[in-house]
């Protein structure tokens, strides 16, 4: 299934989301499959997960059941049981093949209040002109160096006037400028996250953000030859139709 993580709920961690899902599945009366053993757990597999503080319109999860149910009835029941802000967008019966294999990149939208489009555009151009941009990320065990540039497939500055996607995205309050960055980033190890790209903009163009940016994942899927993303649920949909 595909779900969204919106608004205030972007501050949830992946563990928070996982707990909320398990409980919502139970409240909704979904006949879940459990692992065997001393400490049984519901059989749920997560495909990636947007980091804490990042919103998403395209999160994916697989849930194993012990009985067949109508996907649209499940979508309705589960969405009702989830807190507002965790919203079920699409449920299909899983066909053959692994969902994880159908995702290798994500499209992101990053809103940067206090940064003008021109300043942002100049910084993005500088980034795209480089072949390698190293940034350091703080982790539990210290800092880690990551090369951001190779993962960035596309990056462009959207016009605030027409660049606003229609789906549940918070736009910053107040007037002032707000730069909007749209980009496609390939899955790599270590993963390059939206804030790593912002760090890269700081490195190449000293881009400064007066207010913390808001990032939203718009889509996930496999990259095709022209840099577009496929729908990960399409093969399942085709399988159940056939």
């Amino acid at each position: 299934m595909r779900y969204a993580k919106r608004g205030r709920l972007r501050f949830t961690s992946h563990r928070d989301v996982a707990r909320a899902f398990e409980r919502a599945l139970r409240r909704a009366g979904v006949p879940m499959a459990y692992s065997q053993g001393f400490s049984p757990h519901p059989k749920i597999s997560w495909i990636g997960a947007a980091p804490t503080g990042v919103a998403s319109e395209a999160e994916y999860v697989e849930v194993q059941l012990v009985a067949a149910v109508d996907p649209s009835a499940l979508a309705r029941a589960l969405d009702e049981a989830l807190p507002p802000g965790l919203d079920v967008l699409d449920v299909v019966a899983a066909g053959p093949g692994s969902l994880a294999d159908r995702v290798d990149a994500a499209e992101w939208l990053v809103e940067m209040p206090g940064v003008s489009s021109d300043t942002l555009r100049a910084a993005v151009d500088r980034l795209l002109a480089e072949e390698h941009v190293m940034v350091s990320r703080r982790t539990k065990d210290g800092t880690r160096e990551i090369d951001v540039r190779p993962a960035v497939i596309r990056a462009e500055v959207a016009d605030p006037a027409d660049g606003r996607p229609a789906v549940g995205i918070d736009m910053p309050a107040g007037d002032g400028p707000c730069g909007i960055l749209r980009m496609v980033v390939r899955q790599t190890t270590p993963a390059v996250r939206p804030d790593d790209v912002l760090s890269a903009l700081r490195v190449v163009a000293a881009l400064d953000q007066p207010v913390p940016a808001k990032a939203t994942r718009l889509a996930q899927g496999r990259l095709d030859d022209v840099g577009a993303l496929s729908d990960p649920l399409a093969p399942d949909r085709a399988a159940s139709a056939g």
Partner: protein, 653 residues
């Protein structure tokens, strides 16, 4: 007056703090009502971190009861961590509720639930962040009534300067009565201002208003008298008792946080009160008499709570859950009903008794099998007679042997150190007991990899208990005994490696002792500690013993008293205790006699099974024991479903 949400100011700060989800609200079953439509507005605070405060049953119950009243709204607020506190001070964001993110200062009442005295500095910090004057005397008619509840409210004297009012005992009915008084006073146009409102509250006889009582001190530092300083105020303030638990089946819609909390389960209180008579136990003394919830009341709450929360575990709460008159039937029938749904049941407090193993097996049938916990509390037979915890080592060994034989691998045992009349030998016998548990367990299970964890807390004498007169053991003595105990546990490596030992040093208990039995003079110490940066004193990584000792030296010495005077000094029978004008129903003479019995190592039975021993509560409060058995059965007996405790017709094909 319109009240704006502070969320727009808060939101930009959240990416900069740890675990921001704890500040955004939006919990399942949370309520946000329109501000304008409410006549009376309560902010309810648990003065600790969100992860500790959210699961608190008291706050959850009152939150739901108040929000069910059509013209009342209740929202929750918790202590904020220092990273957010710093940013809030920098950006002028006040203490807020997590529901509507409204400023706490805008509410009519700030109700604070104190399970422990170590939350006092967090109260002061929240008041300051809220922009509410720290001292009750400086507040105006526009400030909320700061109302303390919870067990610590049975002696609120140390925070008397900072609160306007305190309620002793059960809150279900008290919050309704207080709401009525506030509603009427506001509707009348707030006649007589704050003073009149507080006087009307005092007139109920069950709301304590500290400022309406004058405390006089004798030359030697002891209290000479506590007297009302105005008309319309009672000499003695009585506790509240909710008699019919089935009439108050709360929480009906348990709050389920997005963030991780300390209790990942829903709870159903199966009875309130305890007459086991453990002399150290304040909860058991101040919550009398025993009042059971009926088996069908419990069944309905479990069913409704699981459907509303989705939790995988149900805790059957009380002070001694195996003592419910129908506990065997309750656990068996719940386990039958939830077969195949991965719903675990737990009894957090159980007494040592072979019966409990049957219970425990029943409880773990549908869920995860965690460890078993028992609380012998004292290491030697002698000290257990002193504290009236009637558990023989033989019973304990029999019980744990059965547990290990039934496949349980881990047993946890709780003890206290620093009990009245305690010697090194009483504590060292804990090691002997743990070794016997391991020996018996290895034999019963035929395995070597079983474990026993002993967990030891420092004893703190509490008001309204027979030990309220006792000298608290000084922290150095407690620490020395714990060191000797550790050596004794480790002396035999072959058994010692199967025994885990968990304890804290005696210092936090020493300060808790000061705050538990302190009087109004201790308020200055609390304020100084808070001004010196004291927060989250219940967390060992934030607690500073040195800060408390320094504040005691600075504030108490000029008054001729000291930290030791409040803690390690034994009180005499004739001493006026700071809480004598606060009535828990217990007869002071009975408490004193029970204290003498303790010193003489004489035990006292439980009035549920033996005749009344005249503790005084029932006649003083007009209450009586309310217990079963009812003989009723839970329906349906058939299992409800597979993989889920909820039946959803839309998903059944």
């Amino acid at each position: 007056m319109s009240v704006e949400s502070v969320f727009p100011q808060l939101e930009p700060l959240l990416p900069r703090v740890s675990k921001p989800v704890q500040y955004v609200g939006g919990e399942l079953n949370a309520t946000v009502k329109p501000w304008e439509q409410a006549n009376v507005r309560w902010a309810l605070m648990y003065p600790d971190a969100y992860e500790v405060g959210l699961p608190n049953q008291g706050v959850m119950i009152l939150y739901e009861i108040l929000n069910e009243l059509p013209d009342v709204l209740a929202e929750r607020t918790y202590a904020v961590w220092s990273d957010l506190e710093k940013l809030m001070r920098e950006h002028g964001v006040p203490q807020f509720t997590v529901d509507g993110h409204r400023p706490v200062k805008a509410f009519d009442v700030l109700g604070v639930s104190f399970a422990t005295e170590l939350g006092y500095t967090n109260l002061l910090n929240a008041l300051d962040l809220a922009g509410i004057p720290l001292h009750a005397a400086d507040r105006t008619t526009d400030d909320p009534v700061v109302l303390a509840g919870g067990h610590a409210a049975f002696n609120p004297e140390p925070i008397a300067d900072f609160i306007d009012a305190a309620v002793l005992g059960d809150g279900e009915e008290a919050v309704g009565q207080i709401t009525d008084i506030i509603r009427a006073w506001k509707a009348d146009g707030r006649p007589g201002g704050r003073d009149e409102l507080l006087t009307r509250l005092a007139e109920t006889g069950t709301v304590y208003i500290p400022r309406f009582y004058d405390v006089a001190y004798a030359e030697d530092g002891r209290i000479a008298s506590v007297t009302p300083n105005r008309e319309r105020v009672p000499e003695v303030v009585a506790k509240r008792t909710t008699m019919d638990l089935d009439a108050w089946p709360y929480p009906k819609q348990p709050l389920v946080p997005l963030a991780e909390s300390v209790h990942e389960r829903m709870s159903v209180e199966i009875f309130r009160g305890c007459t086991r008579g453990c002399r150290f136990c304040q909860a058991g003394m101040i919550t009398r008499p025993v009042r059971e919830r009926s088996i069908d009341g419990i069944g309905a709450m479990v069913q409704q709570g699981l459907a509303a929360s989705g939790f995988e575990e149900v805790g059957l709460l009380s002070l001694s859950s195996a003592d419910h008159s129908e506990i065997g039937e309750i656990t068996k029938q719940l386990a039958d009903r939830y077969t195949g749904t991965n719903t675990g049941l737990s009894l957090p407090s159980t007494r040592v008794d072979a019966f409990n193993i049957d219970l425990a097996n029943e409880l773990s049938r549908n869920g995860r099998r965690s460890g078993l916990t028992f609380a012998p509390e004292g290491g030697s037979e002698r000290i257990r007679r002193v504290i009236n915890k009637m558990v023989s080592e033989e019973d304990l060994i029999k019980t744990v042997s059965t547990a290990y034989a039934n496949g349980w691998r881990q047993v946890k045992l709780y003890f206290m150190c620093g009990l009245p009349t305690e010697t090194d030998d009483d504590v060292l016998q804990i090691a002997e007991m743990a070794r016997n548990v391991i020996r018996a367990g290895r034999e019963a299970s035929g395995q070597k990899d079983i474990r026993c964890t002993i967990s030891i807390g420092g004893f703190v004498p509490k008001p309204h208990t027979p030990f309220q007169w006792a000298a608290q053991t000084d922290p150095d003595t407690v620490d020395a005994r714990l060191r000797k105990l550790r050596e004794a546990v480790n002396s035999d490596r072959r058994i010692g490696r199967s025994i885990g030992m968990r304890y804290h040093d005696g210092k936090p208990s020493h300060i808790e002792g000061l705050l538990s039995r302190g009087d109004r003079r201790v308020g200055r110490v609390i304020e100084r500690v808070w001004r010196d940066g004291g927060r989250f004193d219940g967390w060992s990584e934030h607690f500073s013993y040195e800060r408390w000792v320094a504040a005691c030296d600075a504030e108490l010495t000029p008054l001729g008293v000291s930290l030791a005077w409040y803690t390690t000094r034994e009180r005499t029978e004739d001493e006026v205790l700071p809480w004598d004008h606060l009535d828990s129903g217990l007869d002071k003479q009975w408490l004193w006699d029970d204290w003498q019995d303790a010193i003489d190592e004489r035990e006292q039975d439980d009035c549920r099974w033996t005749p009344c021993f005249d503790c005084g509560v029932c006649p003083a409060m007009g209450t009586d024991i309310e217990i079963g058995p009812t003989g009723r059965k839970l329906l349906p007996i058939s299992p409800v479903g597979q993989g889920t405790p909820v039946r959803n017709p839309a998903l059944t094909q």
